[in-house]
Amino acid sequence: MADKFISKIPDGPLEKKWTKRKSDIHLVSPNNKRKLEIIVVGTGLGGASAAASLGELGYNVKIFCISDSPRRAHSIAAQGGINAAKNYQNDNDSIYRLFYDTIKGGDYRSREANVYRLAEVSAAIIDQCVAQGIPFAREYGGYLANRSFGGVQVSRTFYARGQTGQQLLLGAYASLNKEIAAGTVKAYPRHEMLDLVIINGEAKGIIARNLVTGQLERFGAHAVVIATGGYGNTYFLSTNAMNSNGSAAVQCYKKGAYFGNPCFAQIHPTCIPVHGEQQCKLTLMSESLRNDGRIWVPKKKEDVEKLRKHTIKASQIPEEDRDYYLERRYPAFGNLVPRDVASRAAKERCDAGFGVNETGKAVFLDFADAINRLGHQRVAERYGNLFDMYEKITASSPWEEPMMIYPAIHYTMGGIWVDYDLQTTIPGLYAIGEANFSDHGGNRLGASALMQGLADGYFILPVTIGDYLSKKFAEPKTDVTCKEFDLAEKTVQERIDKFFSINGTKTVDSIHKRLGNIMWDNVGMARDEAGLKKAIKEIAELKKEFYEDVKVPGSQFEFNQELEKALRLEDFFVIGDLMARDALNRNESCGGHFRIESQTEEGEAKRDDKNFMYVAAWEYKGEANDPELHKEPLNYEFIEVKTRNYKD
């Protein structure tokens, strides 16, 4: 396996690497592309754009999603925007600056070459999306409009109201539909991948469960692409969609794909606070709101008390009694500091007793100044739908009183380890979008997830996968009746049978909630050795209880959402354990990963470049053994590694 764990970064100057790699890649002729089959799992921005582009190239593509239509993938919920180094604002933006901001935002834990390539293709993404008919926001002259986002000092974010992810996904889905109509792509909605099939060490297919009939089905191909997103739902409460899961990634991990930096999870600062025990899902309020909203808590504890008792309203607290703590602590970036910094600052104020709601876990995001400065109409154009959404959920109007927000799990920077070609440690298996670990280091900047998903899907994977497939066109179609498929299907069948045989007393969700509490309390915004060890122990105990006492009603051969959840929870246990192990190993504070043991006197995160400037890639060693850690050193050849500073 060691030879497969090489990042394969091309030699030469940073700005020539991608061009060099592209010219070195072997091509597949059109008549041979027709003979090649590719499986794409997931239909979000990464999966849909990859499948559409591969279909256009002439490959035979099969695409799978768990929802009823490819359009439901969770990319659709991204609100704020997509970054691109277009420099349309003439504010001195450039590919280099987007690259630099992303590396710095990721706290120097991502690969220079990958991130540079991401910035390099970013501009073409916008061109592509406009050509597809995506109604991006426009200036009155008809030119594209931009806004700014956290962690940067230029305006490079393109947006379609607060529904940018929706519009980009509908664009990718439209391209996918074009290829489905042309017959190059076949879609399998309501199908869930439950195993990866490997033949002679190469990825050759998947076992999927048809979620309507419950049948297990076999699909073969010459290569498999995983585009199934992140694993934030390990925490139960997150901003991810309810059905988002890490199962496909775990199947790949269990079959030998290394898992990169699992502990890097992003906690988003602007979510609607938890309202009670019955909640199952947290709602994000776009980071774009921080462009014009100001974050504060009261300076005086007596005001906090009154707010909690509802005897005063936020708007009645005078200006001089408000603590705009981000503007105070980080004057250069103010409310636009990166997400990890903003989240920790909110936690710090709430832990100090300044939380503004009954639970003590909320801060204000205030638009009064923006409304005065810009007027009602312009604020409505920028954020109208977000204000409506907030009011629907909380029954309070942001036009009158500030929003209340609190951090929540949002995105996972970690994921399946991939090389420069986006290939995993299993030949023929690729991972793109949030499902891989590659571009965001320890922290992702706002409006960069959409950029990465589409960069991987439209511009990178369709090129790099050709290099692998150029050696495969002479191979016949994968025979799904071979013993490897038999064995994989048998293993899946045993997993399913086991759940129906337990017949315990606890529901899947009740156990998942408890896993979420373990994760949030110990592997959340602040982590330490004792807590992480406790988490590993408690996860193992809860997993045992799960296998002894879960109740999965119904049967396999029907539409059975409880069975779906049980299978996913089984995999969340694997990821939760791996996250805690990785967090325990990484005894430094870095990006979204904050170790209490590693902080400055002012309580800022303290990185340890000497000992931890590497990608932690974990290898599965079987159920009974601990996973093995492999290290990919990160070399910064082109930029100087600095302490992240958003103060001046």
């Binding site: 559409a52 256009e56 929802s67 009823d68 239509s69 359009r71 439901r72 969770h74 659709i76 919920a77 073409a124 061109d127 592509q128 999306c129 406009v130 050509a131 597809q132 008919g133 995506i134 109604p135 991006f136 426009r138 009155y140 008809g142 030119y143 594209l144 529904q163 929706q166 519009q167 889905y173 439209a174 391209s175 539909n177 074009k178 879609a187 909605p189 969609a241 309810m242 309202h275 009670g276 019955q278 909640q279 709602t283 959404m389 629907k392 959920i393 909380t394 029954a395 439209y458 369709p462 529901t507 969700d509 009740s510 109740k551 009603p553 119904g554 029907e558 539409f559 959402q561 409880e562």
Partner: protein, 259 residues
């Protein structure tokens, strides 16, 4: 809060459906409608072991199946017909953004799946909406290849045109328009896509072909005709107006006359 829930239960597409009534209590008024259903399901799964519940007939049907995903009102998966209204008794929301504060404590709430010939029931409250995908596959796209695009600012689009296109593009494909329409027409859904693309210069070259192909596919898949009752626009969670249907009709007629 407490409620009596009268819920449509149907084992699969072929089985005959029926209503079952459940009682639920201890619901917070800030809970969403789907969170309330989650709690009901927890109860139904646990009661599966309870002999008293078996006698009451709860055990046979198990937890209630319903489509849902993002729970932020954007993915379009949730699709419940509540007390006779698509997405229930609040305006401009999907089911997941409906909160229990909109119901009277102690109320009996009736929950059904979308009812439409083009959307067969899969189980309980889950329907098959692949007909929508098929309509879009017939022409709901612009034929541009990856990598073939010119610089984005070479196509200037007036601010108001872009905004109007965005109004139509906000469609989440939930199917409330079809479920609400007495004819089971998908005109608002088709119009939203046709109109959004027709308003943009990039969408013009294929405008005629698109309008004809999508309308033909809609008719073929068993959706009904539009008789301008405007019920769809009232229940659309994204507030898409029938003005887009008027634009679809113009596009369609233009295409037909030029044949």
């Amino acid at each position: 809060m407490e409620f009596n829930l009268k819920i449509w239960r149907q084992k699969n597409a072929k089985a005959k459906g029926h209503f079952e009534t459940y009682h639920i209590s201890g619901i917070e008024e800030d809970a969403s409608f789907l969170e309330m259903l989650d709690i009901l399901n927890e109860q139904l799964i646990r009661e599966g072991n309870d002999p008293v519940a078996v006698e009451r007939g709860c055990q046979s049907s198990g937890p209630v199946s319903f489509d849902h995903d993002c729970r932020e009102g954007i993915c379009g998966a949730c699709s419940l017909y509540i007390d006779g209204r698509a997405h229930g008794p609040d305006d401009h929301v999907t089911t997941c953004q409906l909160f229990m504060r909109h119901f009277k404590d102690g109320a009996t709430i009736t929950v059904e799946p979308w009812r439409s010939a083009a959307f067969p029931v899969i189980k309980d409250l889950v329907v098959d909406r692949t007909a929508f995908d098929k309509i879009l596959q017939a022409g709901g796209f612009i034929s541009v290849r990856t990598g073939a695009a010119q610089d984005a600012n070479n196509i200037l689009i007036p601010h108001d045109k872009a905004e109007e296109s965005m109004d139509a593009a906000a469609c989440v494909g939930c199917g409330a328009c079809v479920a609400t329409c007495k004819n089971g027409s998908a005109m608002l859904f088709v119009a939203a896509r046709v109109s959004s693309l027709a308003l943009l210069p990039q969408g013009r070259p294929e405008a005629k072909r698109r309008a004809k192909a999508m309308v033909a596919k809609m008719d073929e898949l068993g959706f009904g005709s539009c008789t301008n009752t405007r019920a769809c626009e009232l229940e659309c969670p994204k507030g898409i107006t029938v003005a887009h249907i008027a634009r679809l009709n113009r596009e369609f007629l233009k295409a037909k006359f030029s044949d």
